[in-house]
């Protein structure tokens, strides 16, 4: 060949991340209606739990500080729900959709790292979902009157970002499964959606699961693999300190943060390894290019 190509891999992959994040970020501006469907409507589901706790703690003799904490739990859970839904339906399944749209083969033919592709998807997804999360938090403060204690903002931010990275790392790992199994992996997302709402304690203190007996501890142990579980528990500890004398906390904040950091590394490494392996399998079986399998 007459020309030789040399591209700085770091520059190439950073450009790829920005390039892939762009449609998600710009898409948010192009179709404002999604704010109503993705940010405003989910508030109704959260409101239902808020009214349950509100009604319960209005009883004579009930402590209003508990009401604030419980409603705050729900608001934080609603915030994390947005990210979990995004990871499941827009992150994990995205490679399947890309194949259906005819984009996957163009992505796989490009010289960028596959992690850059997934990283761009994750970054764009986080940006979009943050809008829903912010709407939920703002509604928590102004509509439901929740008071957040932000005494340790650095730690709150650290836990929040560690949770997001671990969560999206998990999504990247799940995305590789879609690469091989396509539409059949759909069942997996459906299977993970509602049970995780329960076992991650999105709308109640996670330790309450212990109340179901011996199985409760096993469920708690399993749920700890989901970054949302640990992240939510740590954030709640930081924002609502001293709730019920700490009886409902899972582990200490420091330990939960450390586990989240480990999960970040584990999920990202697993995503890279599984994506490489499953891409090879998909190329062998001809699944990168054919649609409607």
């Amino acid at each position: 060949m007459t020309s030789t190509r040399s591209v700085n891999p770091l520059a190439l992959n950073l450009r790829a991340v920005v390039g892939r994040a762009y449609p998600r970020i710009i898409g948010a501006n192009r179709e404002p209606s999604w704010v109503f469907f993705d940010a405003i409507l989910p508030l109704l589901g959260i409101a239902a739990y808020v009214f349950i706790y509100e009604g319960f703690f209005r009883a004579p003799g009930a402590d209003r500080t508990f009401a604030n904490a419980m409603i705050g739990f729900v608001v934080l859970g609603g915030t994390m729900t947005a990210f979990w839904m995004n990871v499941l339906w827009s992150m994990a399944s995205q490679l399947y959709w890309e194949k259906e749209m005819g984009n996957l083969q163009l992505y796989m033919m490009a010289p960028m790292s596959r992690m850059a592709l997934l990283g761009g998807m994750a970054l764009g997804g986080m940006f979009m979902t943050s809008t829903r999360a912010i709407v939920t938090l703002v509604a928590g403060v102004f509509v439901f009157g929740v008071h957040f204690d932000l005494a340790n903002p650095l730690m709150i931010l650290a836990v929040f970002f560690a949770t997001l990275v671990a969560l999206y790392g998990m999504g990247m790992m799940l995305a590789s499964l879609y690469l091989l199994y396509g539409r059949e992996a759909w069942h997996m997302s459906a299977l993970l959606e509602e049970p995780i709402f329960l076992v991650s304690g999105f709308y109640f203190p996670i330790r309450a699961i212990e109340g179901v007996g011996a199985w409760g501890r096993a469920v708690l142990f399993g749920a700890a693999i989901i970054p949302a579980t640990l992240g939510l528990d740590a954030l709640r500890q930081l924002i609502f300190p001293g709730f019920f004398g700490g009886k409902f906390w899972l582990l200490s904040v420091e330990l939960e943060f450390a586990i989240l950091v480990v999960l970040c590394v584990v999920f990202l490494v697993l995503a890279r390894v599984s994506l490489g392996y499953l891409e090879m399998l998909a190329k062998r079986e001809g699944r990168l290019t054919s649609r409607h399998q």
């Binding site: 007459t2 449609p23 710009i26 192009r30 749209m101 083969q105 033919m109 010289p111």
Partner: protein, 336 residues
């Protein structure tokens, strides 16, 4: 001589996929679907700077070959090299030098504008934004899409979308471009714009190679320096269009337009008939027959057979061989 593409005994067999949630699906008659050989020991050499065509009917193996060369599919056996690198062992340096455009593809996102969409794909190749935008603007003018630069992709017509796909293919300035039926379903003008640009790109830019698959004979004849005729995964011939047609010079091509025939099987048994094809336009009243004759005297037997079946001959012409005639001569049927 530098080779842009080289394959040795390249074979690709598709076997039935395993389903994790579904039972194994059987064919219409209940039998299990067997393996399909899409490429069968293909040996091919494409020179650097060449515009090379792959001519074959649907299912011949053209797209499979391109997908292997584009590092999207692994061969079952054999070797495929692009720009000197093995597609199986060393795909990254290949990916830096190639791009691919398929006919009728729907790449990108409908929410993005034409310009944004092409820019996004350029980023996956590490092209700086400044360079990418300059190239995009130039190509938008060349392909007559400048007016649609800020239109959302979902609002483009299929012809405009295909022009955008072509721009996506050229924006990374590849050394080797795979074009898989790039003018499929396009109108005459859009096809002309694409063909003209591809031709001038290869001829005026040093070291650029194009592998074009098509089943438009005229397109292959007009564009390609050399052609391979492929059918059932096998390469039947490789040569320049002129040389391929010259092979038929010692044979004679006759075209007939006749009323619908009851039975065409007898034509094959007439002495001197090498091959023939029949084209019928569905409900049309006339059928078009093309005969490749080793012995010109056979034409009288053909005419007799048509008359014997009670059919009327509306048109009879002896013609210079075309690529289509070459194809009929080798494969025994028409491309379309």
């Amino acid at each position: 001589m530098d080779l842009a593409v080289e394959t040795q005994q390249l074979t690709r067999v598709f076997t039935q996929r395993r389903k994790i949630f579904r039972r194994r699906r059987n064919g219409e008659n209940g039998e299990s679907e067997g393996p399909v050989t899409a490429l069968d020991h293909v040996d091919l050499q494409i020179r650097d700077g060449e515009l090379f065509g792959l001519l074959g009917p649907n299912g011949a193996g053209k797209t499979t070959l391109i997908k292997i060369l584009a590092t999207l599919l692994l061969p079952t056996s054999g070797i495929a090299k692009v720009a000197g690198h093995d597609v199986t062992k060393d795909p990254l340096p290949i990916r830096l030098k190639i791009n691919m455009v398929s006919g009728g593809e729907s790449s990108g996102y409908g929410l993005l504008t034409t310009r944004e969409n092409v820019w996004m794909f350029s980023q996956f190749y590490g092209v700086s934004s400044k360079t990418a935008k300059a190239r995009i603007d130039k190509l938008l003018h060349t392909f007559g899409l400048w007016e649609k630069r800020n239109a959302k992709v979902r609002n483009l017509s299929s012809g405009q979308r295909q022009k955008m796909n072509m721009i996506r293919g050229f924006v990374t300035d590849p050394d080797i471009l795979f074009l898989d039926e790039p003018t499929l379903g396009l109108d005459v003008n859009a096809s002309r714009v694409i063909r003209d640009y591809v031709k001038s790109w290869v001829k005026t830019t040093a070291g650029k190679t194009v592998l074009l698959t098509t089943h438009y004979m005229m397109e292959a004849d007009e564009l390609c320096d050399r052609l391979a005729i492929i059918d059932h995964g096998k390469i039947l011939a490789v040569d320049t269009p002129e040389n391929l047609k010259r092979r038929l010079k010692k044979e004679t091509t006759f075209r007939l337009e006749v009323d619908p025939l009851k039975d065409t099987s007898r034509f094959k048994t007439i002495p001197g008939v090498k091959n023939f094809s029949l084209k019928s336009d569905g409900g049309a009243s006339l059928e078009k027959l093309t005969f490749i004759l080793e012995d010109e005297a056979a034409v009288s037997d053909i005419v007799s057979e048509v008359v014997r079946q009670g059919s009327k001959i509306h048109h009879l012409q002896k013609t210079e061989p075309t690529l289509e005639d070459v194809f009929i001569s080798m494969v025994g049927r028409s491309l379309e």
